[in-house]
Every structure is written in C-alpha cells, then in structure tokens.
C-alpha cells in the first residue's frame, strides 16, 4: 500500500502543484507572471526529482500506472523541456500580447499529460493522459486571441486532434471487445494466447489501425501531419517549442508502449505499416521543408521528417532501437528547443522574426545567437560530433541490426537532402548582409535557455554514454514488463 502511494506520489504532487499554480496566478499582481513561471519551473523540478526518488518497477493502482524506468526517463525529459519552454516564455509572453497567467498552469498540465502517457500501463489512462496534454496544448496554441493565425492554429489543431482522439478511443474500445481488457499487459497476453481468425482478426486489424492513426496524429506522421505546419506557425513560438519537443516525446512514449508491449503479438502485421509510415514521413517532411521561407514552417516540416527517423527506430522494435529512440528524443528536444529559443529570444512585437530572411547577417549583429543557431541546425542535419548525429547513428545502427537495410538507406538519403535547408539557414546568417533595421538584443532568460540547450547538444554528441545508458536501462524493462 505504501509503495503504491509512493509510486503515485510524483503525479499527485504534480497535480496539486498545478492546482496551486492556478490559484497563485489568480492573485498574482505582476502582469508578466515571472513568479508564476518560476513556480512552475520549481514544480517541474520537484516532480522530476520525486519520480527519480520513487521509481519502482511494478504497476500500481489496479495496473493503471507504472513508475518504471521508462516512465522516469520520459518524466525527466518532459519536465526539463517544459521548464525550458516556461523560461523561454517569461520575456516572450508580454511582448506577444499574452497576459494570461493560466499560460503556465496550462503548460504544467500539458507536462502532466506527458507524464501520465509515459507512465500509463492501461489504455484508458493513457488516453486520459493524451487528452490532458492535448487539451492544454489546444488552448496554448490559441492563447493569443487577438491574432487570427493563432486562432486558426488552435481551431485546426483542436478539430483534427479531437478527431484523432475519437479514432484512438474507438480503436481502444474495439481492442477491449476482442481482448476483454484495457491493461497493456493483459491485452498483450490475450492477443498472444488466443489465435484470432476471420472476422475477429479483421476487427483486431481495424482496432490496431485506429489506435495507430490516433497516435499518428499526435506525432505528426504522414499522412496525419497536415495540421503541423499551420499550427507550428500560428502558435506562439514558445508554445511551438513545447509542442515540437515535449508533446512529440509524449506521443512517442505512448506509441512505443502500446505498439511494443500491448500490440507486440501483432508485430508481423504492424511492421510493414510502420515501415511505410517511416519512409513516407521522413521523405515528405524533408522534401517540403526545402521550399519553405518561414523558419517556423521549415522547422515544422523538419519535425515531421524527424518523426520519420524516430519511426525507423519504432519499426525496428528491438531493445537497442527502443533505447536509441529514447536517446534521439532527448537530443532532438535539446536542439529543437534551442532553435525555437533563438527565435523567441529575438522576436519583438511587430517583427515576427519567423522568416528565414529575418536572420540575414545575424552573425554580424548577434554572433552568439548565430553561433548557437548554427549549432542547432548542424545538429538537426546530423553533423558529427553533435547530439543529432549520435542519435541518428544509434537509431540507424539499431535498424540495420534489425534488418531494415532499405529503410536506413532511405533515411540516410533523407539526411543528405535535409542538409540543404538546414545549412541554408546557416548561410543566411553568416553570408548575407544584415538588414538596415537590426534585430533587438536577445532576451536574458531565453539566452540562458539557448546556451544550456547548446551545451546539452554538444555534450550529447561528445559524451552520449550517460544518457544512452539510462535510456537503455529505461527501455529494457519495458519489454520485459
């Protein structure tokens, strides 16, 4: 009993903290809500620390939650990314015309959603986590109410997201009719114990398809990626940073647990689907990204492409691939939050700082920012010795070991294509002339976040072993459990 409560404690604390945040925000006299933001960051730190402290293997509360290594890894990742996004927002919000203190509590709730998704061992709980996260992010995307694009982003994200949730839930319901359970392990057991043939098998396939579609929307896999560019572009930059990193991590956390644990017996049927999705996703993302003039849109398509790389790892499905996906998510989080951080640091009212051309000659005016941005772009391309390179290396190696040679070939080709647009940004910053109206100086909080992200990106490249090791440990227990 004590253990049960203990392992649920991080979640309980996080929820209470979020409630506290709402109340504190209400009485906050400061219209910039710096205190609220810091409280949110501290709360995330506490949550992360507690989840490390109380980590335990067995599932608790009627097999609904497990605070295993996998969950702890994602908790740490989500809390770190959430804290980074909150710190980025401190200066950005007021300038973007967002004077809602609820911003931070919603972001906190979104992180809680990711935490639940990662820890859920029951499809219902996983769905609730997904909805908690999505609900908060829908609102965050549209929080700039005076901005029509922000409204469009929120509406589009909400409508498509709601559709995806409905499909996912329908898939879960069908799975339940076949297997009689929503607990991942039980589903897996029921699927492997009984041979489903004929119509039952068809229902099973439909169910699996619907579940995959539901998650596909959340991670923006082709062909369910259509919302991503518009939403990334329309949402406030800091929210986009959060969506591109933490939300994607949450989606993968749930997807991997579902596919690799509950649906493990259906591996044979799923593999080709995932293979195709991975190939199409990265190709389409990279090709379309080439033509973008808006940095945000470019990064949106790049994030679709990265979804494709990550799906390569999921397709492989081995222990090695799984842990490399976990590592990749960390590296991807660091470099993406850094890239969006640079945008948020330089954005000022009236000057979106969202077009690639806005960064012309950045190296002359803001050498440090330009340097960091270049670093993130190189890392996203996969140039050694940065985090992005190591992540790709491990994922592709794992895929090779799993026999997915052609997929890895496609992925490698894609990486080469992607260099064109990533390096285009670097060229614009270093070789174009700065425009007459120079960008304002970078904001302090954002600059710090960017610096930390840069350091982490480098560290993950030169010394990946600690993170990789914990990712491997985290993942090994998932497949066993």
């Amino acid at each position: 009993m004590t253990q049960a409560i203990n392992s649920g404690l991080p979640l309980i604390v996080a929820c209470s903290w979020a409630l506290l945040l709402i109340v504190v925000e209400m009485f906050s006299g400061d219209r910039r809500f710096v205190g609220v933001a810091w409280m949110g960051v501290i709360g995330l730190a506490v949550t992360a620390a507690m989840s490390v402290h109380y980590a335990s293997v067995p599932a608790v509360y009627g097999n609904a939650l497990a605070l295993d290594g996998y969950a702890v890894y994602f908790n740490l990742l989500a809390c770190t990314l959430g804290a980074a996004a909150m710190l980025l927002s401190i200066d950005y919000l007021g300038d973007a015309g967002i004077v809602r203190g609820e911003y931070y509590s919603l972001m906190f709730f979104a992180v809680i959603g990711v935490v639940i998704m990662a820890a859920a061992t029951d499809l219902i709980v996983m769905f609730i986590g997904l909805e908690t996260m999505s609900m908060a992010v829908y609102v965050l995307a549209g929080i700039r109410k005076s901005d029509l694009r922000s409204n469009e982003a929120a509406l589009k994200y909400f409508l498509l997201g709601a559709l995806a949730s409905a499909l996912l839930l329908y898939g879960v319901a069908l799975l339940y009719t076949i297997t009689g359970s929503t607990v991942l392990a039980d589903v897996s057991k029921a699927l492997s114990d009984t041979q489903h043939a004929g119509a039952d098998h068809l229902v099973l396939l439909l169910a699996t398809g619907l579940v995959l579609i539901g998650f596909g929307f959340k991670i923006a896999a082709v062909p369910f990626h259509l919302w991503a560019p518009d939403v990334y572009e329309g949402a406030p930059t800091t929210v986009t940073a959060f969506m591109a990193t933490a939300v994607k991590a949450g989606g993968f956390a749930a997807l991997m647990r579902t596919v690799l644990v509950a649906l493990a017996p259906m591996r044979a049927e799923l593999a080709p689907v995932l293979w195709g999705a991975a190939a199409v996703t990265m190709t389409l993302g990279n090709v379309v990204a080439l033509r973008q003039t808006s940095l945000k849109r470019m990064l949106a398509y790049s994030s679709i492409a990265h979804t494709g790389y990550l799906l390569v790892g999921v397709t492989a499905g081995t222990n090695e691939a799984g842990s490399s996906v976990l590592f990749y998510l960390a590296a991807y989080g660091a470099m993406n939050i850094g890239a969006f951080g640079v945008m948020a640091a330089l954005a000022r009212r009236g000057r979106g700082c969202e077009k690639i051309s806005d960064f012309s000659g950045l190296a002359q005016t803001h050498p440090a920012m330009a340097c960091a941005m270049a670093l993130f772009m190189l890392s996203l391309t996969g140039i050694p010795p940065l985090g992005g390179f190591v992540g790709k290396l491990y994922v592709f190696t794992a895929a090779m070991h799993a026999g997915l040679v052609w997929l890895v070939v496609i992925a490698a080709l894609n990486s080469v294509v992607s260099a064109a647009y990533y390096l285009g940004v670097v060229r614009t910053m270093y070789f174009d002339n700065a425009p007459a109206d120079v960008l304002p100086p970078a904001r302090p909080y954002a600059a710090v976040v960017v610096a930390v992200a840069a350091v982490v990106t480098i560290l993950l490249g030169v010394a990946p072993s600690p993170v990789l090791g914990s990712a491997a440990r985290a993942f090994s227990k998932v497949l066993l459990g």
Binding site: L148, N151, L155
Partner: protein, 382 residues
C-alpha cells in the same frame, strides 16, 4: 490545406453577432406604448435605442384650434398619470399672458389637488418599480392606496383620471364640505403606509441588489442631459421648481427637497430614484397638512371672460410635476386661440438618456431603468 477564416461575404468566422431585439411597442414593461431597439450580446445590451412617437396625438397643435378655455381637458391627456399638475401648468401660462390673478383659496385648492395627484403618481411609480423587478405585491398595495386618493379626487371634481379640475383664473369647484377632514384622515392612514412600503420593499435584499449601482447617473451627466424632477434630484442635485422657481402658494409651505444619497450604492442609481419618490410622498403629505390647516376663505376662481383673449406675447412657465420640471412655452397673438404651444416634459429628457445608460446593462436592468425614470409614454410623445 488552409481553413477559410472568412465567409464568402468577408465576415470573420469568429465574430459574434449581436442580437437585435425589439422591446415594444407591445411589451408589458414599457409603461405605455414605447419601443426600444436593443442590440444585445446575450443578456448584456450594447445599446437600447428609444423609438418614440407611438403615442403622438398632436396635443400642442390641437391647442391652436380649441381656444384657451377649451384646451384644458386636453392637458389632462398630456400626462394622464398626474393630470392635475398639467392642468395647473396650462392655467398658469394662460393667466400670466392674460394678467389674471388667482384668488388665494383657488391657489390652495390647486396645491391640494396637485399634491394629491403627485402622491398618486409616485405610488404608481413605486408600485410599478416593484412590479418590473418582479415583486407583484407592492403594486397592488400601492394601487389600493391610490384608489383612496382617486376617491377623494373624484369627490373633488367628478373624475378619477382625467380631472379637468382647474380653470384659467382658479379651479372649477370649491372643495366639497368636509373634504379637508377626509384628506387628513387619509394622510393619517397613508403616512404609516409609506413607512410600511419602505419596510417591505426598499430594504429587501434582492430589491437593493437589483437597483443599487444600476444605471448610475452622475450629477454632471444628469445636468448635461437636462434631467428634471426626481430623476435629477436622485443624482444629488437639489433642484425643485416649487422651491427654486416658486409658483402658486408653495413659498408659504414648509417642506424639504429630498435628494439621492446613494445609501446602497452610488448616488444617482435606480434605487436612489426610487427612494427619492418615496420621500417626496412624505413631503407631499406634509404640504397637504399645511394647506388644509391654512386654507383661506374666499372665492376659488377669478372673474375671467368667457371669450378669453390675452394680449399678444409669449410666456414660459415651469411647473413641478411628478416627473419634474414641465415647462410650457405659449405664444399668444391676441386672438381667442393660442398662436403656439410647446411643452417640454421630464419623461422626454429621461428617454433621451436611456440610450447612453443602457450600454453594458442587462436586459433586466433596462426594465428597472425605465421604471426608475418613471417614464410615462404619453408625456414623451404628447
């Protein structure tokens, strides 16, 4: 894939549309035939435009055709809730033009009749106020008291609503025998009743919540909009024609001019307008007692030729009606018909202000606002 954010005709998808509501001409709470065009966002009004004129009967024009004496019954219809004071205004205008002096007893009779009429009108206003807020009982109680006054006035002039009591030069009939005693007996009964109404209605929590701080008219806005009478006094301006532009025998009486104090909210809110009327009833009762005590002997009407032809000239008289300063501008050209009559009424000024006040109020507040201004539709349109 881009979602269209505009409809084909260019409207924003996210724009909300105001609802246009037509309150009146047939609507239970518009106190006669009034019409408001309300633009509302849900229950909250963006504006309420008054559309007047449904009760226009060309009374001013009729005056030019029916002659000086003949116009008296028409004045009853200008404000049929308080016809006595309108009678008095017309009589005063004609007297000033013709240089007629009213006998003292005649003036006293006029004051007694006018003050009874004022109580009558305020009772109706207070009762209707409660009714519009949803309290149905005060109305029947107020009307019950009003009935007693109507009995008295019927005894005085034979009519219960459109009195046609006053004449140029005085009043039509002297007080009937024992009338003064009856009025005093009525007042003995009535003064406690006002206290009771005060107890039951004005202190009611819901009543206060509905009226306090609603549609606050500041002193400056009240003056700027030319509000008069109780509506003006509720905003804290001590201005009563009976005191400040004295006419008739009012200077001989001792009474106070109540003003709004903002006891439950801000000065000049709906509750203040209500309570000022309540206090005025008490003051009217005070005047009545003094008038009956000091009633002089003598004729009640001066000798005025049947064919009344005042000399050419113009006059502007002010009378304090229950709805405030009613000013009559009358031009005579030396014939037996007035050349031009114009009446400026309190309800009309109040009506003009509603559009400004209505912004941001709820629909239920509009009803309270109309009632608190004590708008009488015929007085607006004449």
């Amino acid at each position: 894939m881009s979602l269209e954010l505009e409809f084909a005709d260019g409207r924003d998808v996210f724009a909300t549309e105001d609802m246009v509501l037509n309150m009146g001409p047939q609507h239970p709470s518009t106190h006669g035939v009034l019409r408001f065009i309300i633009r509302a966002d849900g229950e909250v009004m963006r504006s309420a435009k008054a559309d007047v004129g449904y009760l226009h009967r060309s009374i001013e024009k009729i005056a030019e055709k029916v002659g000086w004496h003949g116009f008296m019954p028409y004045t009853d219809r200008v404000d049929y809730v308080a016809a006595m004071t309108t009678n008095q205004a017309w009589a005063m205008a004609a007297e000033v033009l013709g240089g007629v002096t009213v006998p003292r007893r005649g003036e006293y009779c006029r004051v007694i009749a006018a003050e009874l009429g004022r109580i009558c009108s305020h009772l109706l206003a207070a009762g209707a106020m409660g009714m519009d807020i949803g309290a149905i009982t005060p109305f029947t109680h107020a009307v019950r008291e009003r009935e007693l006054i109507n009995d008295l006035l019927e005894e005085l002039c034979g009519a219960r609503l459109t009195f046609n009591y006053m004449r140029i030069g005085g009043v039509a009939w002297d007080l009937p025998p024992g009338f003064g005693a009856k009025v005093l007996r009525f007042l003995d009964h009535f003064e406690p009743y006002v206290d009771e109404l005060d107890d039951l209605l004005s202190g009611n929590k819901i009543y206060i919540e509905r009226l306090a701080n609603v549609a606050v008219v500041s002193r400056e806005r009240a003056i700027a909009y030319n509000l008069v009478g109780p509506n003006l006094r509720a905003s804290g301006v001590k201005y009563d024609i009976r005191k400040h532009l004295p006419y008739s025998v009012y200077p001989e009486f001792d009474f106070e001019v109540p003003i709004g104090e903002g006891r439950h909210g801000s000065v000049g809110d709906c509750w203040d307008r209500y309570i000022v009327r309540l206090h005025e009833m008490r003051q009217s009762a005070r005047i009545l007692r003094q008038a009956i005590d000091g009633l002089p002997e003598g004729p009640v009407i001066a000798k005025v030729p049947r064919n009344y032809k005042p000399a050419a000239g113009e006059v502007h008289v002010h009378v304090e009606t229950p709805r405030g300063d009613q000013s009559w501008y009358v031009v005579a050209d030396g014939t037996e018909y007035p050349y031009r009559v114009h009446i400026r009424t309190g309800s009309f000024a109040a009506m003009a202000m509603i559009e400004e006040l209505s912004r941001g109020l709820m629909i239920a507040d509009l009803v309270a606002l109309i009632a608190s201004f004590d708008i009488v539709a015929p007085e607006v349109d004449r």
